[in-house]
């Protein structure tokens, strides 16, 4: 008996996590650590405290990300490769954007962003086609298009970052400083959040709805480019020359992205709930994920958004304490951030403590997006305040 007990006890021990990793997982880790080490060795002298801290923080973070979400690795690697290629092709000469074939048609920030726009729009149509033609192949294609669009968007941003330094060392800054740049950031982040859940719940049929918001954002970017020449890189106004911007803005847009995702899932939820009553055999009722799953995705992305928006608002407060003479000034943008948080806090409480589910929460998530959109755009357009440099 005792023998068999030992045997049995061994049997009941679980393989430790590290043993479950594949060789490529280790290659991935090695690549990132190697990269970070190289940067420290080669450019360490040029980096300040923050930057070294960020580098050391981001490396394990991305290793973990790659282990937890395998497809992210392909994305990050290709983005890194393309961005570095662009940087090398540029050298020290901004004019290369016109001379060099690759830059001109592919990976100068402007071209990359145009590619992103085109791919996102195509992906949107593909997702819809796949949904209503009930074609898995088409939705798979749509998925690939979305991945590529996200990649091109990121490349566009990274290269734009470099280009700003090529204009003049003083002009150089991270491209999250005006509406044009953050709209691209928004499209990419929303897409990536969606792709994450697409993988987790392996369901592609939500893409059609999520990509709608992204396409809208893309539409704005295009109008803003051709209507307002917003793509021209402008130097930072003094108020924005701060390290906080680098973290405050991206955190904000993870929030915006997550909330938009939740809202569009909410739309899908409502459509399916309706379809189940009216056309139980239609594409919507059969292809969309179960209501339970959509409810879950909605909750998860609102939770994610809530966390990052809280983080962003706090970072904003810290920044304000350094730039405006107070961590809270009831400036319209600030106040609307608070409004968003309160709104979603109410949502979360309803769901968790009152156990609300289903259509009402879906509707609320959709309304939440309207509130969020106003905080994001409306405030810049209609209300003046300390944030007004974000104006259209």
């Amino acid at each position: 008996m005792s023998v068999s007990q030992d045997v049995m006890l061994d049997g009941f021990a679980k393989r430790p996590f590290l043993k479950t990793l594949s060789p490529f997982d280790w290659v991935w880790a090695a690549l990132l650590i190697g990269g970070a080490a190289f940067v420290l060795y080669r450019y360490g002298a040029l980096l300040d405290g923050y930057e070294i801290a960020i580098l050391l923080g981001v490396t394990p973070l991305f290793i973990a990300l790659g282990w937890h979400w395998k497809p992210a690795r392909a994305l990050l690697l290709s983005v890194a490769a393309l961005s570095l290629l662009a940087v090398t092709l540029y050298g020290a000469d901004l004019a290369a954007a016109e001379k060099n074939f690759f830059l001109k048609f592919l990976i100068s920030s402007q071209s990359a962003i145009m590619w992103m726009s085109a791919l996102f729009v195509m992906a949107t149509f593909a997702y819809f086609a796949g949904l209503f033609m009930r074609s898995d192949f088409t939705t798979r294609v749509a998925g690939i298009l979305t991945w590529s669009a996200a990649a091109m968007g990121l490349v566009g941003l990274f290269v734009r970052w470099r280009e700003s330094y090529l204009i003049h060392i003083d002009v150089g800054h991270i491209p999250v400083s005006n509406l044009y740049e953050v709209f691209i950031l928004f499209s990419v982040i929303t897409a990536l959040l969606y792709l994450y859940y697409e993988g987790r719940y392996n369901t592609r049929s939500l893409g059609a709805f999520v990509l709608l918001v992204i396409s809208a954002a893309v539409g704005f970017v295009l109008w803003y480019t051709f209507g307002r020449e917003a793509h021209v890189i402008q130097p930072l106004v003094p108020a924005l020359k701060s390290y906080w911007m680098k973290i405050h803005v991206p955190a904000n847009f993870i929030g915006y992205g997550a909330f938009s995702l939740a809202a569009m899932v909410g739309v899908a939820y409502l459509l399916r709930a309706r379809a189940e009553r009216l056309r139980p055999h239609g594409a919507l009722a059969t292809r969309l994920p179960s209501l339970e799953i959509m409810d879950d995705v909605m909750y998860k992305s609102i939770a994610l958004g809530f966390f990052f928006f809280t983080l962003a608002t706090i970072l904003g407060a810290l920044w304000a304490a350094e730039a405006w003479g107070g961590y809270w000034s009831w400036d319209p943008k600030e106040t609307w951030a608070l409004i968003i948080l309160l709104n979603y806090a109410a949502w979360l409480h309803m769901r968790l403590t009152k156990g609300w589910r289903g259509a009402p929460m879906a509707w609320w998530a959709v309304v939440g997006l309207l509130v969020t959109t106003f905080a994001f755009l409306g405030v810049n357009i209609f209300l003046s305040g300390l944030h007004s440099y974000g104006a259209l």
């Binding site: 068999s4 009941f12 021990a13 809280t310 730039a323 409480h349 209300l383």
Partner: protein, 663 residues
């Protein structure tokens, strides 16, 4: 009265209500909605603006509601306080049970209740319950659960849980709300409001020099928390700041004095401003040496719990040296000295004038009017002033110091408008060969010289009649010369408009083609006048071909310029003020602590779900029967997945066990 008679005391009922979720959610929504007010209605504007916007009736209503400073309006603070109480009560009521919940493994559950769980499964094993229990304990451990084995008389129970920190998450996040509110109150102006209500301080609404502000509107240096502003001209020192409050201000004394040595604007290569910087010196009686620091936007000076920010800048009284060129009468230019934010008297043919200088700019990086769009360039120094006549009517002007290049020629640009909410309309005075306004002004003066005009009129008449019918007809010659002179005078006095109206009035409709003829003749006559101007300058003067046309364009609109003088800026001494914001916020660190708690708490609540597993092993009919169950109040889908994986794992392993035991 006797409370024992009641089932629950009033206190308990009150707690129940205050801590209730419905109240909480209502509060969250109510605060969200009322916060909107302050974002759509611009806060803390001068009351005048509101009166204009809403009319005096609604102005009073909104004022009573405190809408001009919503976020410190009593009712708003009241709701905030309500949330504070509600959250505290909520924590107070939930904390104990949650802390207990963290320790409690629930190792007394019965087989029956386990079987009724949403997630449950049963297995058969060969080994004895105690061995099975041991194995399960290790199994749960290896999956990150803390597991405890408890012997009951007829069965063994393995109770396991993970993520119990989740409860701490709740505590952190909600205590954080309380902490943040308290910190905010410390820094808010509630005490000040109370003092005001009690009549201990009074908001000053008049614009007074510091020395004349009455004591009741002054706050002592000790004041714990405030946020005020002060504009300090370069080279001056300030010991007081203004706390803007509604339609007025209070004067806050500082425990130290601040001097602004110098204010600078750094520029990008493209000319846009890159940074605003002030060199400050702090004179603190408690320090034996003054402290020199440079601050800039995003880089404040932190000193003894006070923070000094670069908030604003403007002209602090630049000294301007001007040359006033007469436009309406002959006469020579004279020198005028002015100071920005000050005024000087100046007499003119139209009576006494006041020049009120309101601004001076060293750089003007913008498109040169009338251009627009993205063609930015530096147009150099400019100054803004009002010309007010005896009746108090004023026009506003914007003059640029240096001539601005446009289509290859240089112009002195001057804009005029009747009110601030209008665009300037600009006059472009062509610069002469020396890059000055002299030639243009001489041309202008010539147009005021009757003799010159008469000669020009006669000359142009002769030219036009040569070989024509009326050449030797003195009557026609006279008549025509008169018309030409009148036209010249009209042009000088009323510009293009004058000429047009004159021709309209004096030429019968059926001879309209004559209008063009006269216009051409007028142009000829003016050219003759211009010729005389050049002659005065001396034959050596080379003439730029375009100058004449450009001058006519300017002369043609000069009468609408409105001022009897053109003020040319010849020299200046630039003096700026630096707008500092000085604050003291002792609650800041409390708030930051709250921030940290909130983030940690929220993260834990979302991403450390509290999960429980049970396995109850009992012997019956020669085998060991295992009831396996689990529960989690968060992320049910996720947990269902995990539970299923665990179940399959167990199935496989128990198959082994049974096999080993040869069953």
């Amino acid at each position: 009265m006797n409370t024992r008679a009641q089932p629950r005391s009033t206190g308990a009922i009150l707690l129940e209500f205050l801590g209730s979720m419905n109240l909480a959610i209502t509060l969250l929504v109510v605060i969200a909605v009322s916060s909107v007010i302050g974002t759509v209605l611009k806060q803390n504007e001068p009351y005048q603006n509101y009166i204009i916007k809403f009319g005096s009736f609604w102005f009073e209503v909104y004022k009573a509601l405190g809408l001009y400073d919503v976020y410190s309006a009593p009712w708003f603070l009241f709701i905030m306080g309500f949330l504070l109480v509600s959250t505290s009560v909520c924590v107070y009521r939930n904390a104990p049970s949650m802390l207990r919940d963290m320790k409690n493994f629930r190792d007394n559950v019965t087989a029956k209740s386990l079987q009724n769980f949403h997630l449950t499964a049963t297995f058969n094993a060969a080994s004895a319950p105690s061995d099975v229990a041991l194995a399960l304990q290790r199994y749960f451990n290896s999956h990150g659960y803390r597991a405890r084995v408890k012997q009951h008389d007829d069965h063994v129970l393995v109770a396991a849980m993970k993520g119990r920190a989740n409860r701490l998450g709740y505590l952190f996040a909600h205590v954080a709300i309380v902490v943040i509110c308290i910190g905010g109150l410390l820094d808010g102006n509630v005490p000040l409001k109370l003092d005001e209500a009690r009549g201990k301080v009074k908001v000053e609404t008049r614009v007074l020099p510091v020395s004349q502000v009455p004591a009741i509107s002054r706050l002592p240096a000790g004041n714990a928390s405030f946020r005020g502003v002060v504009n300090i001209p370069e080279g001056s020192t300030a010991k007081f700041i203004e706390l803007r409050l509604r339609d007025g201000y209070l004067l806050q004394e500082l425990p130290f004095a601040v001097e602004v040595k110098d204010f600078r604007i750094e520029h990008y290569p493209g000319g846009q401003p890159k940074s605003f910087e002030s060199d400050l010196v702090i004179y603190d009686p408690e320090q034996d040496a003054p402290l020199a620091r440079t601050i800039s936007v995003n880089h404040p000076l932190l000193y003894k719990g006070y923070a000094v920010y670069q908030a604003n800048f403007g002209d602090g009284g630049s000294k301007l040296t001007l040359r006033a060129w007469p436009l309406t009468a002959q006469g020579t230019a004279r020198e005028v000295r002015g100071v920005v934010n000050d005024s000087v008297k100046l007499d003119s043919p139209q009576g006494p004038l006041t020049l009120e200088f309101s601004d001076f700019k060293l750089y003007n990086v913008k498109p040169a009017p009338p251009e627009s769009g993205k063609k930015f360039r530096d147009l150099g120094p400019s100054f803004v002033f009002k010309v007010r006549n005896a009746d108090g009517i004023a026009l506003e002007y914007e003059n640029f110091m240096q001539p601005v290049e446009q289509n290859g020629r240089l112009f002195f640009i001057s804009g005029v408008r009747e009110s601030i909410n209008e665009e300037y309309s600009y006059v472009h005075i062509p610069a002469d060969a020396q890059g000055g306004v002299e030639r243009f002004m001489r041309f202008l003066a010539a147009l005021r010289d009757r003799q010159i005009l008469q000669d020009a009129a006669v000359q142009v008449t002769q030219l036009s009649l040569q070989g024509g019918a009326g050449e030797n007809n003195p009557k026609i010659r006279k008549a025509m010369a008169d018309i030409m002179q009148r036209l010249l005078e009209r042009f000088g006095e009323e510009g293009f408009e004058g000429v047009v109206s004159y021709l309209r009035a004096n030429i019968p409709p059926d001879r309209q083609q004559a209008v063009q003829t006269y216009a051409d003749l007028l142009q000829e006559a003016l050219r003759i006048v211009y010729g005389k101007v050049l002659a005065q300058e001396g034959a050596a003067q080379q003439d730029s071909p375009q100058f004449f046309e450009d001058a006519l364009n300017a002369l043609g609109v000069m009468p609408q310029y409105g001022a009897p003088y053109y003020l040319q800026l010849t020299d200046f001494e630039h003096v700026q003020f630096s707008g500092l914001q000085i604050t003291r916020a002792p609650g800041k660190n409390v708030v930051y602590l709250g921030f940290a708690l909130l983030l940690v708490g929220v993260f834990i609540m979302f991403y450390v779900p509290h999960r429980r597993l049970w396995a109850l092993a009992s012997r019956d009919a020669g085998a060991t029967r295992v009831i396996f169950a689990g529960s989690s109040q968060r992320d049910r889908l996720g947990f269902a997945k995990e539970f299923d994986a665990l179940r399959q794992g167990l199935e496989a392993r128990f198959r082994h066990d049974n096999a080993d035991a040869g069953m």
